[in-house]
């Protein structure tokens, strides 16, 4: 089947099997390997990307379901050489260690901050509860989201 998608603003088309998972389209057909795979049951969230601006676990979406839609991956967060405030927040607050869950956390966080520009700590914790991290204990990920929220509020 032919699938046409816009990924990080760039148009792509590919001839794919109907069963191809979106995460494999992104990682293997388009070679955007920032999106990771961490489980088979859509629990870990390492594969989170934005589909028309909404976070989805791309291991649980078929590539063909993304036909005609816009996808944003971690590679699309930096614009014109400027990092997204959440990327800066992760670095500033030591919100990552091995880096494997980070892209999924970032995508979930970016979508969350759009809807909740002034989140409480509990709201942040609930928002990222579909993304597992084994390294950080989440404390500094929460701080990274707060860091970004403050920065976005400040008009950075």
């Amino acid at each position: 089947m032919l699938v046409k998608v816009a990924v990080n603003g760039e148009k792509h088309e590919a001839e794919v099997e109907p069963r191809l998972l979106l995460v494999h389209l992104i990682r293997e057909n388009l070679r955007l390997t920032g999106t990771h795979i961490g489980c088979d049951t859509s629990h870990c969230g390492a594969c989170t990307v934005l589909l028309d601006g909404r976070p989805v676990k791309s291991c649980t979406v078929f590539a063909v379901q993304a036909h005609g839609r816009e996808i944003t991956t971690v590679e699309g967060l930096e614009q014109d050489g400027k990092l997204h405030p959440l990327q800066e927040g992760f670095m500033a607050e030591h919100g990552l260690q091995c880096g494997y869950c980070t892209p999924g956390m970032l995508m979930t966080g970016v979508a969350f901050l759009k809807k909740h520009p002034k989140p409480t700590e509990d709201e942040i914790r609930w928002a990222i509860s579909g993304n597992l991290c084994r390294c950080t204990g989440y404390v500094n990920i929460v701080k990274a989201v707060q860091h970004a929220a403050a920065k976005i509020q400040g008009g950075a």
Binding site: E17, R19, L20, H24, R27, E28, R31, L32, T33, G34, T35, H36, I37, G38, C39, D40, T41, H43, C44, A46, T73, V74, E75, L77, E78, L83, Q87, F90, M91, A92, H94, L96, Q97, C98, G99, Y100, C101, T102, P103, L106, E121, I124, R125, W126, I128, S129, G130, N131, L132, C133, R134, C135, T136, G137, Y138, V139, N140, I141, V142
Partner: protein, 788 residues
């Protein structure tokens, strides 16, 4: 302690930002599954549905008919090359692929090689295997009973399922201490089977290049050099000699011990690449990872503690049954089949101790590796901290006061424990008092008393652990004969920048940053000017790798020693440049100056340039050094944790309200990274305390084999950690550092378990095994008739 260097130089004590982060936050890391080579094939594995069964027949016909499926590899194929079995790190043997029978559910049965990932999975589904089920042995106690089916029928003359017996300490002295004791407590403690579940699973890309006569394996390994040697030892006879093997450990998505062993998938991928001449990728999925990769723990412990009436602890006696699955594939130093479990006297001045461990075979996957803990130290700490708490409660003494009374005192260090370890340094009461002040211990005890009056269940738990890391001195520590040194090689470039390579391998610990800080501290070269590399056996010096919190204690020390070798030469070059005698020069990080005339000086950058452009005649050019550091002793990080829990009488849920962790890892390289390590460690202590367990039903079906029922805590459950430090430097480590990666995982579970028992003690509860799940507590409360 104020940092010696400026923030611009970024030596020890500065929370400089991580060098690793710019690539990771852009999605530009390179993990194994990101490696793609032209013509690469995909390997997927057929796994057994039975825990114990004879393989009658493997029919590949349908699989081979699937377009893109190239081959189905079985044990019989590997047997031709004598590659169907491989040695484990504990010198036991493990099947790569079975020829006769399978020994656990999810064991590898056959492998399918295909041109695509999906094609390989289709092939796996189409391979038809005929099994004849055999009696299953799940319970290690039953495994050792007379008449139990003997599992390792491959071992000639093996008549039972007993692997080894190991004991340590003075039995007679210990038994006498128990006879003479005023008070004794005894408790069965089960520390269940769990899994590290790093978010990246395991995998590799193996590429045998026939023309270059070279095998390159990108793999998820914490110990690339040791793996290269193991590959050469296993497959040297079929042409894979060590100089032809290059192991590359790229970015690793968490390791925690799970990426130390050699799994069959790696070996099959290598064999498949050698046979086809094409690159072969094998990436396991999460269920394979949880069900087949090495587990941790699974210790059935019976512990006894003896004390005098006044609360002075005297002796500890432990008997343990270790369930190793069908083979002993633990990752322990060779001399210690139960790891460093004999650090089980913990933080206390016990005069006598004796510990016995017996290993048993069962129909479960092999392992016995760490779970972010160095060699069975969590098992040891959990036991002594539970037992100490039990004794304190039994004697009616406050558990904090009881610990302080029994701690090894600061003036007793270096301290020789009853089981023979020489603890380097410690101030245990200092850490506990700081934790008590931070959390407001006295107020919490008052609150607890009031709440108890109202029938509310609140508990306060303490864990004052002593870790033992930095394996290890070559006299006692080796893995498969390889001594457990580690290494650093430094090259300072003419323009004063440097590259440093190590025998370790970061999996998230931030070595690229912290090692650069050690060099910055010693050499005065800014950390930003130092490139750190690890994980490529063709370029990095040989080392035993990163696990058991050994990177800072061993490779970090190597970095300091190599730096000091560079400074020795730098001093001579500086003397030449300044026309002074080397001994007349004064060094401060980054600069040599002439004694008494500080304006006559040369920077390390001047010296580096001179090392290549104007070195003294008779001296070799260049500014390089290497150190293979053999630690004189282990290091003993410690800490005290206090945890407050509230128990919901309606659901049995344990809520961790507060958790204060005071850690002492000696001198600190990067406070930000240390705090991050403690956060992560605490979370991996919290997880098995309340959530994680892999168990088996009576026919060996795994429970907890996917993230559906193996519960990793999310941000919602995980407590808001409160952390702090005391600093007691290690006297023997060149930097006074001790290591920290695993301390919190070792120390945290006992604090939580102690808090739960503390909340329920007045109801007659003496012990609860982890994980302390709501059903477990709810059933206990129902027995006591107090559920809501």
């Amino acid at each position: 302690m104020a940092p010696k260097t400026t923030p611009e130089v970024g030596g020890m004590g500065h929370s400089i930002k991580r060098k690793e982060d710019p690539r990771f936050i852009r999605g530009k890391g390179t993990y194994v599954d990101d490696v793609v080579l032209p013509g690469m094939l995909y390997l997927d594995i057929v796994r057994s549905p039975f825990a114990h069964a004879k393989i009658k027949k493997i029919d590949s016909t349908k699989a081979l008919a699937i377009p893109g499926v190239l081959a189905v590899i079985t044990g019989k194929d590997l047997e031709k090359y004598n590659l169907h079995w491989m040695p484990t790190l504990m010198s036991d043997t493990q099947m790569v692929l079975p020829v006769e029978k399978v020994m656990y559910q999810a064991q590898e049965v056959a492998a399918v090689l295909a041109t695509t990932r999906y094609g390989a999975a289709d092939g796996v589904a189409a391979v038809e295997v005929e099994y004849e089920p055999l009696p299953v042995v799940v319970d290690p106690k039953k495994a050792l009973e007379p008449g139990a089916p003997v599992l390792r029928t491959d071992k000639k003359d093996k008549k039972d399922n007993h692997i080894w017996h190991w004991e340590w300490g003075n039995k007679a002295d210990t038994d006498r201490a128990f006879t003479e004791a005023d008070v004794t407590v005894k408790q069965d403690i089960y520390i269940p089977r769990i899994h590290v579940a790093s978010i990246e699973t395991c995998g590799c890309v193996a590429h045998w290049d026939k023309v270059q006569d070279k095998l390159t394996v990108w793999m998820t390994t914490q110990a690339p050099h040791a793996i290269r040697t193991v590959f050469a030892l296993v497959a040297g006879h079929v042409g894979l000699e060590e100089h032809k093997i290059r192991v590359i450990s790229p970015d690793i998505g968490g390791g925690f011990g799970g990426k130390v062993p050699v799994y069959p998938g790696y070996v099959i991928a290598v064999a498949a690449s050698v046979l086809t001449g094409k690159p072969v990728k094998w990436i396991e999925d999460r269920m394979e990872n949880l069900q087949a990769d090495s587990f941790a723990r699974d210790y059935h412990i019976t512990a006894e503690l003896a004390a005098k009436k006044d609360g002075t602890l005297t002796a500890l006696r432990i008997k343990t049954l270790a369930d190793h699955g069908y083979t002993d594939a633990a990752a322990n130093p060779s001399k210690f089949p139960a790891g460093l479990f004999h650090v089980c006297t913990g933080s206390y001045d016990l005069k006598a101790a004796h510990v016995e461990v017996d290993g048993a075979y069962t129909n479960k996957p092999p392992g016995g590796i760490a779970y972010r803990c160095s060699f069975r130290v969590t098992e040891a700490v959990h036991t002594i901290e539970r037992m100490t708490d039990l004794m304190a409660h039994q004697l009616g003494i406050d558990p904090a006061e009881f610990r302080i009374k029994n701690f090894i005192k600061p003036e007793q260090f270096p301290y020789k424990s009853a089981l023979g370890w020489e603890y380097d340094s410690g101030n245990y009461a200092g850490a506990l008092r700081k934790a008590m002040d931070t959390i407001g211990y006295a107020d919490l005890r008052r609150e607890q008393a009031e709440k108890r009056q109202r029938g509310e269940l609140m508990g306060i738990g303490i864990s004052s652990f002593t870790e033992i890391v930095g394996a290890g001195p070559s006299k006692h520590f080796d893995i498969l004969g390889l001594k457990m040194f580690d290494s650093c090689e430094i090259r300072v470039h003419p323009t004063g920048k440097a590259i440093a390579r190590f025998g370790t391998k970061s999996q998230g610990q931030g070595h690229e940053t912290t090692y650069a800080q050690i060099l910055a501290e010693e050499l005065g070269i800014p950390a930003k000017d130092i490139k750190v590399e690890e994980g490529d056996t063709d370029t990095a010096p040989y080392g035993l790798g990163t696990y058991a919190s050994r990177s800072t204690p061993v490779a970090g020390a190597a970095a300091a020693v190599a730096s000091r070798k560079i400074l020795d030469k730098a001093r001579k070059i500086a003397a030449h440049l300044l026309e002074a005698a080397p001994e007349d020069l004064v060094y401060e990080p980054g600069k040599f100056s002439v004694k008494g005339t500080p304006d006559r000086s040369k920077t390390i950058q001047d010296i580096a340039f001179a090392a290549y452009t104007n070195h003294p005649q008779g001296m070799e050019a260049g500014l390089e050094a290497v150190s293979y550091y053999d630690p004189p002793n282990l290091t003993y990080p410690f800490g005290s944790y206090i945890c407050v829990v509230d128990i919901d009488k309606g659901t049995g849920e344990v809520k961790v309200r507060r958790f204060v962790a005071i850690d002492d890892c000696g001198n600190i390289i990067n406070p930000m990274i240390v705090e991050g390590q403690v956060h992560g460690g605490l979370s991996m202590g919290f997880a098995p305390a309340l959530y994680e367990e892999i168990s088996y039903d009576e026919i060996g079906n795994v429970q907890g084999g996917s993230f559906i029922d193996y519960l990793l805590p999310t941000a919602v459950e995980t407590p808001k950690w409160e952390t702090g430090n005391t600093v007691t430097p290690s006297p023997h480590h060149p930097l006074g550092a001790k290591g920290v990666g695993e301390s919190a995982t070792v120390g945290a579970p006992a604090a939580i378990a102690n808090a739960v028992v503390d909340a329920l003690w007045h109801l007659g509860v003496r012990h609860v095994d982890i994980p302390i799940t709501p059903p477990k507590i709810w059933r206990l409360l129902r027995e006591k008739g107090i559920t809501e």
